[in-house]
Amino acid sequence: EDQVTQSPEALRLQEGESSSLNCSYTVSGLRGLFWYRQDPGKGPEFLFTLYSAGEEKEKERLKATLTKKESFLHITAPKPEDSATYLCAVVSGTYKYIFGTGTRLKVLA
């Protein structure tokens, strides 16, 4: 059965303290992996799409990487406004988005 696991569930960082969020997946034929940011009560905001192992994408303080088993979302020198829940989703042979349960990030000033 296809499965997506995100860790940690929650993360508290001091402003400027870099860290990484993990998204591990077990799917039958990965067709794409997506990262979203979600603020409370709002819709997920698209960040990155990764299609193949070795691929990397960057946007401001965020960098997403992909291997055959997992993806990392690296946050460099985070700011309080980066506080949100970060969701990862994969698409496999079933063509449906399978979401992980997310990592709740809190960045303290």
């Binding site: 067709r31 009560g41 819709g43 969701l87 698409v91 988005y97 979401f99 349960t101």
Partner: protein, 115 residues
């Protein structure tokens, strides 16, 4: 840039009532997806439409139905509402230039409260 529009943003209904949620996809997007998200949970896929035809079905209750219209907007109809239907309902849209791995762009959601 234009985003996905959902209406209403908030909806309060009594048990056993009916609700209709509307979704207007990003212009030129031909695929619409519906999700349900409970408190502290990840979005759960309900149903999707491609070019006005149902393309996939997830954990959508039989009390719910949906359709996509000729202008590509979609409506989710929910009948015999139950307390457990209270959740955020998101619509997402995509353009099928890569097929099922297209990026989905989410709307702001409709918060449904069933009393």
């Amino acid at each position: 840039a234009a985003g996905v529009i959902q209406s209403p943003r908030h909806l309060i209904k009594e048990k056993r009532e009916t609700a209709t949620l509307k979704c207007y996809p990003i212009p030129r997007h031909d695929t619409v997806y519906w999700y349900q998200q409970g408190p502290g949970q990840d979005p759960q896929f309900l149903i999707s439409f491609y070019e006005k035809m149902q393309s996939d079905k997830g954990s959508i209750p039989d009390r719910f139905s949906a359709q996509q219209f000729s202008d590509y907007h979609s409506e989710l109809n929910m009948s015999s509402l139950e307390l457990g239907d209270s959740a955020l309902y998101f619509c997402a849209s995509s353009h099928s230039d890569r097929g099922p791995t297209d990026t989905q762009y989410f709307g702001p959601g409709t918060r449904l409260t069933v009393l």
